[in-house]
Symmetry: C2
Subunit: 131 residues, 2 copies
Amino acid sequence: MKTLKYSRQRESIKTCLMERHDHPTADNVYLSIREEYPNISLGTVYRNLNLLVELGEVRKLSFGYGPDRFDADLSLHYHFVCRECGCISDLPLEPSAQLNEKAQCCCQGHIDNHLTYFYGVCQDCLKKNSH
Amino acid sequence: MKTLKYSRQRESIKTCLMERHDHPTADNVYLSIREEYPNISLGTVYRNLNLLVELGEVRKLSFGYGPDRFDADLSLHYHFVCRECGCISDLPLEPSAQLNEKAQCCCQGHIDNHLTYFYGVCQDCLKKNSH
DNA sequence: GTCCCTGCAAATCCTTTGCACTCCT
DNA sequence: AGGAGTGCAAAGGATTTGCAGGGAC
């Protein structure tokens, strides 16, 4: 087990993720942080994001369109992904909290969380298509 | 709407995906197909996999560990992803068929399907860790 | 002082793409 | 014949990594 040392950069990255709720990519985070720490590098952002994911303080979202995104909202919630523009948004849908337990019963390994992605076409793209 | 022409390669890729149930990566598929068509290129495999995904005949799985995987099993089912070794397997869990409808009610756009990933540590990695 | 963390740049991995040629229809 | 599909190789995008210097403890 490796000891963790404080770093302003990591602190700032975590704060950034907790403040914005738009599921930013690593690059989005990088650009935000640069306003406060102009010398930060993209590599550092990636290293810290991965570290935060390992620590369970942040979640990585992968859904098959474009780069991964990061979310500091650890509450159980679902995401909607637009197949056309790739936008991603939270769904105000009551999530099934017992799902992990149920899954645990039928799984040989150990489950600690789950992520659900709904795919479709967002409102904006539907409008564009109808023109 | 573009007309689709028959291609032996695409046929073979689809057959391959329907026969194997191990969620292969594009490269895995490429290596399989090469046994029958030694000249096929990885680019062709990617092009056809993407085409099949667009046609809705195949699903792409992205879950944050390593390359994307492909699945010709269109039935509603859930996946388990091992955080340590990256392996992925089907979960024999009764899936919630009404979830799409519920999500549709609270979504401004149009939803056509959803994918759920459970994350944890697989049986094999649990064993290794205990040594 | 030690060891983790950083910035930088190069490297790596995965995927897409341009082009000349081939195969379906 | 026409145009979609292919193989090849190069390009592209996202992410990781090696290294020398800087900062936390």
